[in-house]
């Protein structure tokens, strides 16, 4: 991105001043080098978001930002319903509530290493993944409606997991305001056999170990030590979420015209939060979030079953579960005044600072655990939310490494087989459903996750707690 016309706020924060139709400025969080490599489209898309009605403070882009649909991926926008604020399709996307769940195994790297091949092979068989895979849970319309109302709580009630798991999920596993009546029959039918499936693309299941601790106190609160083995699950709301997106793309296109909302990009179709269309979409999005939470809960249960086969004594405990494609109703302080806002995070993780009532008591002093999925070959990170983050970004941080290369180019650059060999040479076992998928997700196709995370840390949006390295991966 060209630095011309950008106002430097700090080494890690840049502003596109309010101009033309923009209601607020754009703030981009990036180191000098990340900014240099960042797509011009990020500035353009974030500026388009700044033109939407009712947006508060600034349209934000995280350090992993790249070109998205309407919003940049890594984009955050908060809207006030009382100021004509909108709920916007582009700020949520097609994979509603896609997110990361991490679980602790109580095992250490040396315990797992000798049996890692067996473990990943077992999980590969236990957790359905890849295009066309079907889950073990079979539901009808009524069953799906219960999923949409009950989220992860539904899953626990069905025997997938423990009550205790729910405390470590945002909103304790179920969001309010979901109305299954506003989700189409098609969307529900597509989900009949998709609950508990991982999907494909950038979705994965990883066995990781802690290789670096930055904050001993917070790591202790998380129950992690050096070499502790954890499991990470990255997936979302599956076909149901995709269909909600598809259905409402058209409905909101009509609504944007009806309410004369001046959108700069068709992908920013939206409706006023307080309009019938906006309320309807919101209730469908909440249903989509519950679907994703239920999905990750069922997968967590399958992971426990798989682990038990290889490590019969292992107790798999929840660490935390975050979503990074959402719109959530949250209280934030603006100019000293408490306001209720609809915060859109598209490829951005909620990162609430210490003390927020939303956090489980174990984490209330450290701040919200922010789970950052890196790439197969490098690292993932756990950070903790901060007070500064609450002030600057409505308590939001990055969500991953962020793509640096298109899928098409990645496929031209790497062969799936060779990527797997190279990873295996580095001690990382990968079980994949598609070679093309592996090439598209090759580690080199992403930005340097360490630099992204350092930028979040240095900008004060969240602070580094631990770094983890992959030992074995299931790719969808």
């Amino acid at each position: 991105m060209d630095k011309a016309n950008l106002r430097k706020i700090s080494d890690y924060e840049w502003e596109v001043p309010k101009d033309g139709d923009m209601n607020v400025p754009v703030r981009i969080f990036a180191s000098k080098s990340l900014l240099g490599d960042m797509d011009e489209k990020v500035r353009e898309q974030a500026a388009n978001v700044a033109c939407l009605p009712g947006i508060q403070k600034a349209s934000l882009a995280m350090p992993d930002a790249h070109w998205g649909y309407g919003f940049p991926i890594g984009g955050v926008g908060a809207f006030d319903p009382d100021e004509g604020g909108v709920i916007c399709m582009g700020g949520i996307g097609f994979d509603i509530s896609c997110g990361v769940r991490m679980m602790k195994t109580g095992l250490y790297r040396d315990d797992v290493r000798p049996r890692v091949e067996n473990l990943i092979q077992t999980l590969f068989k236990t957790v359905p993944a890849g295009l066309g895979s079907k889950g073990k849970v079979r539901l009808g319309i009524e069953g799906i409606d219960e999923v949409l109302r009950g989220g992860a709580r539904w899953a626990v009630e069905q025997g997938y997991g423990r009550d205790e798991d729910l405390r470590f999920i945002e909103e304790r596993g179920v969001v309010e305001g979901a109305d299954p009546a506003n989700v189409s029959v098609k969307a529900k039918q597509r989900q009949f056999r998709e609950v508990g499936t991982l999907g494909s693309g950038n979705h994965y299941l990883e066995i990781q170990y802690v290789d670096e601790i930055y904050d001993e106190k917070a790591a202790k609160a998380l129950g992690l030590e050096k070499e502790s083995v954890v499991v990470a699950i990255h997936c979302g709301s599956r076909a149901l979420g995709h269909q909600i997106g598809t259905d409402y793309l058209k409905e909101l296109y009509v609504a944007s015209k009806k309410y004369n909302i001046p959108i700069k990009d068709r992908e920013l179709v939206c409706a006023p939060i307080n309009s019938p269309e906006g309320k309807k979409y919101f209730s469908a999005v909440m249903a989509g979030i519950n679907c994703a939470l239920a999905n990750r809960q069922v997968i967590a249960h399958l992971v426990r079953e798989g682990f038990k086969k290889v490590f019969p004594g292992a107790d798999i405990e929840m660490l935390y579960d975050i979503s990074h494609n959402t719109c959530k109703v949250e209280e934030h302080v603006i100019d000293g005044e408490k306001r209720t806002l609809y915060v859109h995070r598209k490829g951005s993780t909620r990162a609430f600072g210490p003390g927020r009532k939303e956090l489980p008591r174990e984490y209330r002093d450290m701040g919200q655990p922010v789970l950052i999925g890196g790439t197969m070959g490098t690292y993932s990170f756990i950070l903790a939310g901060t007070e500064t983050g609450l002030e600057k970004t409505f308590g939001s941080a990055c969500h991953g490494a962020g793509r640096a290369m298109s899928r098409k180019k990645a496929k031209k650059t790497w062969y799936g087989e060779r990527v797997l060999k190279e990873l295996s040479r580095r001690g990382i076992v990968v079980k994949a459903h598609s070679y093309a998928g592996v090439a598209e997700e090759a580690p080199g196709a992403y930005k340097d996750v360490s630099e992204v995370v350092d930028t979040v840390h240095n900008a004060g949006l969240a602070k580094k707690v631990v770094r983890v390295r992959p030992m074995a991966v299931v790719k969808g």
Partner: protein
């Protein structure tokens, strides 16, 4: 890529483009481009015919609607499609067919799932040929 259809680069996802002598052909080839991201089209037998009909406010959004309806039907029927035929195409609605067979993980060379067709870089136009394109979310 096959004749009349191709994919193009988008930083995070993938663009699809269909072209042809008629608008119908461009839409059909657009569908081929999208399914070529999901699997090798060679190797899919056009055993079953599925009727597709959809509507949208205008011609460009109709292209996205057509693609999304194909994804929906493929997912609902657990099928893969490799051939497409549009019977009637109005300004705001269309009717046509998709041909394919039941998805078989052993038989078909599957690649990655397409979540949805989007309004990103959506264009339907005519130069020498008719062209229909958009970005799909992978």
């Amino acid at each position: 890529m096959g004749e009349g259809y191709e994919t193009f680069e988008h930083e995070a996802d993938m663009g699809i483009r269909g072209s042809g002598e008629t608008l119908e052909e461009a839409f059909e080839n657009g569908a081929r481009a999208m399914f070529s991201i999901m699997l090798d089209l060679v190797g899919v037998e056009p055993e079953e015919k599925v009727e597709i009909s959809c509507s949208a406010p205008d011609r460009e959004t109709l292209f996205v609607e057509w693609l999304n309806e194909l994804l929906t039907q493929a997912s609902l029927r657990e099928m893969v499609f490799s051939d497409f035929k549009i019977e009637s195409l109005e300004k705001d609605s269309l009717r046509g067919y998709a041909y394919g067979e039941r998805l078989d993980k052993k038989k078909h060379r599957l690649k990655v799932e397409v979540k949805a067709a989007t309004y990103s870089m959506l264009k339907v136009y005519k130069n020498e040929k008719y062209v229909a394109q958009c970005v799909v979310d992978v």
